[in-house]
Amino acid sequence: MATDAITTLRADTASLPFVVKLHEWVTTVDHKRLGILYIVYALVFLMIGGVEAAVMRIQLIRPHNNFVSPEVFNQMFTMHGTTMIFFVVMPMLFGFANYLVPLMIGARDMAFPRLNAFSFWLTAFGGILLYFSFLGANGLYGDGTAPDVGWFAYAPLTSKTFSLGHSTDFWTLSLLVSGFGSIGTAVNIIATIFCMRCPGMTLAKMPLLAWLNLVMAVLVILAVSPLSAAQIMLAVDRYLGGHFFDTQAGGSAVIWMHFFWIFGHPEVYVLVIPAFAFASEIIPVFSRKAIFGYPVMVAATVCIAFISMSVWAHHMFTVGMNANANTFFVLSTMAIAVPTGIKIFNWLATMWGGKIHFKTPMLFCIGFLFQFLIAGLTGIMLSAAPFTWHLGNSYFVVAHFHYVIVGAILFATFGAFYYWFPKMAGKMYNETLGKLHFWLFLIGFHLTFDFMHIPGLLGMPRRIYTYEPGRGWDTLNLIVTIGAFFQAAGILVFVANLLWSYFHGETVGSDPWDAWTLEWSTSSPPPVYNFAITPEVRSRRPLWDLKHPEDPDWKYEYMERS
């Protein structure tokens, strides 16, 4: 029987020498291994990006501090932003999508396993290229090394005149390379979801995670491609002497802003929609209720994706657009709050009346829910153009988007780590350490980012290297920096928990959470072939049907047509 053959194979793998195992990992086309590679890669860059953030916070801990030079500070905020967006959050979410989507839709693998491996290695080498700039970007004696133009690299700062040496070239090329990797993965996710679903799983019966990753992949295709185009133009300017963003020759610096933010705003939703996906899987399982309003959740997500394509210029209110443009982008930005609000109410309604289990994944999801709400509220404040005229480029903006990226996306992702760790590792994580991580990180997060709003309101601009004493910013910056250390401690507990549990954790069965989606029907960790027999499903919760044959979901589900 096939199972015996596979078991033998696994026993062999365990005893193989390190070089052979390494070779297997490097040459793998298995979606689960690639998913784990993505996630581990993202964790490594999370550490690096975190160290860069810590350097900035130490520099700003008191006025007139001299921890690093202004040049290094510029490199730190550029590398921190670029790393966290492109080499932490995106690979992390792609990793989870890679690992989970085929399992959840009952498929053997992604639609294009080799394209999958190719995309991962493009992303990986993109990140390595970016960090190689620390060593290799010295064009002329005395030039900067790492990119120092900010993560959105406004023209004309990126022109040859103002950015000597090769630092900006490294930035451009690494984002171009990893961007092609992202597009490859997005194509793969879409093809997988449309073409690889197991029998019976119509689109209306897919787990929400698959649906939301589908929307995310569509957004990647529509958003990352413009960024690639803009990076090609920047490369043309820098290498071939073109004039796209060269104001001296009639070019426009503003058009770079448009091109960048046409990517940049949908990118926020590329990052947050998978976080929604995690919450939509975790909250029902730990509330012991099916998700509330499944069709509306899907519709709201599609709606968010659609509107997110038409809001980019709210990043540019301070540039000086005309009144019509301002009005349009104010209204479209505010409109996004409607489908987002629908989602928040649906998650709350899922929890309402449920039997809530406060395990670590659920704690992180509850944190996600409330912090995302606050992030959305400051988002609505900033969507009003006059408000942004006052607070644009201040620490209020920094606090707002960190509330989204850390408070919402990272919290939901931590929830996902704890929720699917037993599936990926076959071991249970340590619940005490998990809760410690949650509380440390929660306290650190709120110390840092709640208090960061206030210096912004008091007029502290972002990206400044130091500041004068006596403006009322001193104590606040001290608190913000202290919070950063709490977060760092939380992350260390998290990594320690992952490592310790991987080696010494309690072995778990296939379904430790009594969950309902297909990934929990196969062993933990799943065999290379995922499912010995291709599953067939009749409802959105196939494992519920299996466990409760007397009362299956498919009798009640709205869209059942059999």
């Binding site: 997005a186 029998p199 019976g200 185009a229 070019g251």
Partner: protein, 198 residues
């Protein structure tokens, strides 16, 4: 593992999903369309904004003949695929080769135009905004034509060695889809560069 058999329902599910190659190609075409859109927007935004000459109306001549070549290659590739679908293996290499020849002619036309612009008119990518946007947009398209021609050549070699058979029609059709896209983009580029931009 013991729970698995129960996941097979007794309801007889009819199950038909779209071919993955086609879906992936549509996705790729969407991504490419987004890239071209940005270049087209940049071109249109910079029309008439060059500070120095040469200007488009002085140096550009619409390449009608080469456009006809490229657009008719869409027809020949369609005929090639449909003859493969009907298992007429002799018709396929002929139409396929004709597609390659028409595409190569178009590329030669672009090369000739660039040669004239660079050596006779003194327009390079560094000269002015027109040069920057023109060479980028037309060059991006020419790059896609080149990639298409390389793929078409590969299939042609396989066909001549007898490896392309009726069962490969679906895959060859996916490649044809890309080629149709390259042709369709040329319609946009032609309109933008040689009609609106002049």
């Amino acid at each position: 593992m013991s729970t698995q058999p129960a996941l097979i329902s007794d309801a007889n599910i009819t199950w038909d999903l779209p071919p993955r190659g086609r879906v992936a190609m549509y996705c790729l075409i969407s991504a490419e369309s987004a890239i071209f859109t940005i270049f087209v927007v940049a071109y249109l935004f910079y029309v008439g904004k060059s500070l120095t000459g040469p200007m488009p109306k002085d140096v550009l001549h619409a390449p009608i003949f080469f456009t006809i070549c490229l657009l008719s290659s869409s027809l020949t590739i369609h005929l090639a695929v449909s003859s493969l679908k009907r298992a007429k293996t002799s018709g396929f290499p002929l139409w396929w080769f004709l597609t390659l020849a028409l595409g190569a002619t178009f590329l030669a036309g672009t090369a000739r135009e660039w040669h004239r612009l660079i050596y006779n008119e003194g327009l390079t990518i560094q000269t002015n905004l027109f040069g920057t946007t023109y060479y980028s947009l037309v060059g991006l398209h020419a790059f896609h034509v080149t990639v298409g021609l390389l793929a078409i050549t590969t299939v042609l070699l396989f066909a001549l060695l007898g490896y392309v058979r009726q069962e490969h029609a679906e895959r060859v059709d996916v490649l044809a889809l890309y080629w149709h896209f390259v042709d369709a983009v040329w319609v946009i580029v032609f309109t933008v560069v040689y009609v609106i931009g002049r």
